[in-house]
């Protein structure tokens, strides 16, 4: 029996510090251990600060999805202060969040994941006139002929593996890799129109947003969104489906824990159904979300704080000597269940609801077109497809939000900060369900806890020894070569891990 263990450390092309150890038996992963390798202590250093610092500081948890943290924080503060944004404020918030969501999904497929499937060296065969591809081709040529120790770094070297052989498809997706660099910058500019700057937006505050809505800004938002929608419809979604067609085995590999959790996001006064309806799927059954069932285990994490606490009274006491610990990530559980969050979870919840929604309909149409069932989505490529589909739904809905902005009407509601209060802010980050818990005492932050999408997805084993979603998804994955475990990193990257978020 062939047996080997590989510690894949670092896992690159994700956000942050992640190591994954896999134990392979008979050519398949038998056990996997996911380790978050970096801790900063946001929850500790927020204590005693002014509550209004929270949305600024928590955005700095993550440079890829700062807006999600800013949003969770202002939602928690809205609740604590007893306020709600105006219509303009709500639409503005939705658009800021949507713009960063689009940028995150686009960067995830092209810059972070695509190089596991497509062959960058195919650019050498390019004979067309696209300036970006010509630049890339002549650079790769010059690099290969140079004395550089690592020619064409950071694109090479890489794991050896079964990269796509079809030259035209490789070149098409490479071209879109370059276009995506531009598109994600446009998405950031779109967010900056309403939020001041990205990453780390100043303009997201309790009571709405600080920017004022003008006709000029609306025109600017429309122009940028139109480019993004064209790219999503004509490049991103087709490229994901094309990659799926070339790697059909990844519609089977990487099935996770099959439990899903969604908090919901993008409140919209015009719609009966949220764009991402909240809900919980356990054992194929949909049930309503019950926040009281969330706890965080720490028996395999580097903390000495009590295990199994609900986030509202959660603690973060670091202890790098903690017995049996192998990760800085805590292990959140829902009624004791391991839960996957993110695009796949959002699609599963939407699809299992009786009510129609844009996400449910688009998913149904796409699955029918490719003769797939919902169960195919519980896989590596399924997560990529889910991400691309919801990207389109968010982009499409954004167009309606822009149309409803009213120039000159306020987007900020003034408020008072009470001496004491508490609030929970729940939203959907690009990577899944995100919650912030704030309690305020004597006008200062008494406690602050964040349970973040990658905390769920990359969690280590819990108190009962049950592995987290990524760990479970890896089990059974065929890995042929201990020096080139490309199959395993394809599984991990399909979750779009963000470790700065997961540990914070």
């Amino acid at each position: 029996m062939i047996k080997f263990t590989v510690n894949i450390d670092p896992i690159t092309r994700i956000e942050g510090h992640l190591a994954v150890r896999i134990e392979v038996e008979d050519g398949r992963v038998a056990k996997a251990f996911s380790s978050g390798e970096m801790f900063r202590g946001f929850e500790v250093l927020l204590k005693g600060r002014d509550p209004l610092d929270a949305q600024q500081i928590t955005q700095r948890i993550c440079g890829v999805c700062p807006i999600s943290h800013g949003m969770a924080s202002v939602l928690a503060q809205d609740r604590a202060y007893g306020i709600a944004p105006t219509e303009n404020g709500q639409l503005g918030r939705n658009l800021i969040q949507a713009a960063n969501f689009l940028q995150s999904h686009i960067i995830h497929f092209y810059q972070l994941s695509a190089l596991d499937f497509i062959d960058v060296a195919a650019v050498l065969a390019y004979e067309g006139s696209d300036p970006g591809l010509r630049e890339l081709k002549s650079w790769v040529n010059a690099q290969l002929a140079s004395d550089a120790i690592y020619p064409a770094a950071p694109f090479l070297p890489r794991y050896e593996g079964d990269y796509l052989r079809e030259t035209d498809t490789n070149i098409t997706i490479l071209k879109h890799y370059l276009d995506a660099l531009n598109m994600r910058a446009i998405a950031h500019r779109m967010a900056a129109v309403l939020a001041g700057k990205l990453p780390h937006a100043p303009g997201l505050v309790p009571g709405g947003i600080t920017e004022t809505i003008t006709a000029e800004k609306i025109a600017s938002l429309e122009a940028m969104l139109s480019k993004l929608r064209t790219f999503i419809d004509h490049c991103y979604l087709p490229d994901v489906l094309e990659t799926t067609a070339a790697f059909p085995q990844y519609l089977r590999e990487g099935r996770g824990c099959s439990n899903f959790l969604v908090y919901g996001a993008y409140p919209d006064s015009n719609e009966n159904t949220d764009i991402f309806p909240p809900g919980v799927v356990i054992g194929g059954e949909l049930s309503p979300l019950n926040m009281k069932l969330i706890t965080e285990d720490t028996s395999h994490s580097f903390y000495s704080s009590q295990s199994g606490l609900p986030p509202g009274s959660g603690q973060t006491v670091p202890d790098h000597t903690h017995k049996d610990a192998y990760s800085w990530v805590k292990a959140p559980r829902y009624g004791g269940n391991v839960m996957e969050v993110g695009p796949l979870a959002r699609i599963m919840v939407a699809a299992l609801r009786k009510e129609d929604s844009a996400l449910k309909n688009l998913t149904r149409q796409t699955l029918a077109r490719f003769n797939m069932g919902l169960e195919n989505l519980e896989s590596v490529m399924g997560r990529h497809i889910a991400r691309a589909l919801e990207c389109k739904v968010v982009a499409d809905r954004s167009a309606a939000w822009i149309e409803r902005l009213i120039p000159g009407e306020t987007a900020f509601q003034d408020f008072e900060i009470p001496e004491n209060g508490m609030g929970i802010g729940l939203t959907e980050a690009p990577r899944g369900a995100l919650g912030h818990w704030i309690s305020i005492r004597k006008g200062k932050i008494e406690n602050y806890q964040c349970v973040v999408p990658t905390t769920w997805n990359c969690s280590p084993r819990d108190d009962r020894g049950v592995p987290g979603p990524v760990e479970q998804a890896l089990v059974g994955t065929p890995v042929a070569d201990d020096h080139n475990p490309i199959e395993a990193v394809r599984v991990v990257r399909s979750f779009d891990p963000c470790l700065a978020c997961a540990v914070h």
């Binding site: 190591a19 390798e37 500790v44 440079g63 140079s146 700057k197």
Partner: protein, 305 residues
């Protein structure tokens, strides 16, 4: 993973040419098509400590030169955790070999957990050890973003990891290297690209006493603020989103050296004060301030009871 040598690459190009149906005569063309691209770039090793990757994401917002042109014309980016195709031991081999050979500039994003080194590891190595050996062999160290430049949020009061800036860490370890500090949370892409272009074409740019490039950090945001006239005329904003100067909301523009108000962010789209928010001083030395010192207040201090 075997080491990739030039010889292997020639073989690879031949293989690729065959795979792509090119004639054998195309192989030397592929392998020897040298042009000006290969010369004059800065070899860079990019390491992340206690970071959020926001400065990397910000760099990707650079326009003219955009990210592709930066990668092909200015940098030889040996390793970058968010962009490198190499992963696992393939990635660590690049880092280790680059350190063995030296002759690179080290860009560090994130602060350093001096008080709790176990708070950051990469490649089965403490980040503190990795940073020390990478810095020792570097020609120069660029600390990008407030975390690396001055400790930033991971180094805030009451932080549990004893996080410090990169220059403070180097001093602690007695490692003497030319250091360029580029604060900002995140750093503006122009600040880093401007420094890199300067280093490639003319060497290290003129620095101030705090090792910041003078060309970006010599003036206070307040002095070059579009609302400075409001300050002069004592027209003060009463809350967020208001017109007028944000001085009475605790705007930190008067204490922060940076050129955001002239340069603007995201390709000239906007910046904090134009968007109705006070400056929170993210490029200031003491960002994010003491626990007892709010980043801004919502109410004009003139009105607080």
């Amino acid at each position: 993973m075997k080491e990739i040598t030039r010889r292997k690459f020639l073989k690879l190009s031949a293989k690729l040419a065959a795979m792509m149906g090119l004639s054998a005569s195309a192989v030397p063309k592929i392998a020897e098509a040298l042009d000006e691209i290969a010369s004059g770039t800065l070899p860079v090793l990019w390491l992340q400590g206690l970071s959020c990757s926001g400065c990397s994401v910000s760099l990707m917002n650079s326009e003219d030169p955009g990210p592709l042109r930066i990668l092909t014309r200015y940098l030889s980016l040996l390793f970058h955790s968010t962009l490198s195709t190499a992963t696992g031991h393939t990635g660590m081999e690049i880092i280790n070999r680059s350190i063995d050979l030296g002759g690179y500039s080290l860009i560090v994003e994130g602060s350093v957990p001096l008080g709790m080194p176990e708070a950051c590891r990469m490649g089965e190595e403490l980040f503190t050890d990795q940073l020390a050996r990478a810095a020792m062999k570097a020609d120069a160290v660029i600390a990008v973003g407030s975390c690396a430049a001055s400790g930033g949020i991971p180094g805030a009061e009451n932080n549990p990891t004893g996080a410090v800036s990169v220059p403070a860490f180097l001093q602690e370890k007695g490692i003497q290297k030319p250091v360029i500090r580029i604060p900002g949370c995140p750093a503006h892409p122009d600040w880093l690209v401007g420094v890199i272009a300067h280093v490639v074409k003319m060497g290290i740019p003129p620095l101030d006493a705090e090792h910041r490039p003078k060309m970006f950090f010599s003036r206070l945001i307040h002095d070059i603020c579009p609302r400075f006239a409001d300050y002069e005329r004592e027209r003060f904003a009463k809350t967020f989103s208001d017109e007028g100067c944000f001085f009475k909301l605790g705007c930190l523009g008067p204490l922060t050296h940076a050129d955001c108000s002239l340069r603007l962010w995201n390709g000239g789209t906007n910046f904090c004060i134009n968007a109705g928010s006070p400056c929170i001083g993210c490029a200031a030395e003491d960002f994010p301030q003491a626990v007892s010192f709010p980043m801004h207040t919502k109410k004009s201090s003139g009105e607080v009871e």
